[in-house]
Symmetry: C2
Subunit: 125 residues, 2 copies
């Protein structure tokens, strides 16, 4: 697939996620889809588990895609999710096969306190 | 610059970081380099601050680049850093200008406990 098609695929995934339309988001996944969550050492295998987890998730977030990079059959995205007054960031890497999302690695980086030792070399934002 | 050149730039950055050669890593940064650390709400502005922070960092890590994506003048990387028995992951997005790293956004996703509620839909890794 062209990079343009692959970019559209990732955009479409997040659009459908943002509509809480998880069945139709699942339709963008390859039959052999596997998603790794390295931080929690979890693996989601297959469309059905993907849909079930998202349907069961208690919150309803707003999604805002910050960027999508496409490099051949690989892609990366940075998405801000807002739910009530909570904001979380999802950073994902994808491998695309047959026009579907075949592999995914998801990171959910959480806030941490700015370390004291480097205070003099940074600005606060 | 070509995507190939930009890929080499990101690879070179991590090679020099892995040699703790921060001055020469700094030479790959644009004069107007800015790095955002959204988790800690910090911003590193300029080569000198980048070099100082890295030189002052107490640990000596081994770096292993898991992947680099290049999309025009944008790039993303996923790097595993190992220091003693600690492993951390750095996920970075870059904007390249004039063959140098102009903007960077760094995420340092930390481990979290696998949530109870989704146990039945995931495998443990």
């Amino acid at each position: 697939m062209s990079e343009q098609t692959n970019r559209r695929l990732i955009g479409e995934l997040w659009q459908r996620m943002g509509r809480f339309d998880f069945e139709s988001a699942g339709a963008l996944l390859h039959d052999d889809y596997v998603c790794e969550l390295p931080q929690s050492k979890e693996r989601i295998r297959g469309r059905e588990n993907f849909v079930a987890i998202n349907q069961d998730y208690p919150g309803r977030w707003r999604t805002s895609v910050q960027r999508v990079l496409v490099n051949g059959e690989q892609a990366a995205s940075e998405v801000v999710l807002t739910c009530d007054d909570q904001t979380v960031i999802a950073v994902s890497f994808y491998e695309i096969r047959d026009g579907k999302i075949y592999r995914e690695v998801d990171y959910w980086p959480e806030p941490y306190a700015a370390p004291e030792w480097r205070t003099r070399w940074v600005e606060r934002t």
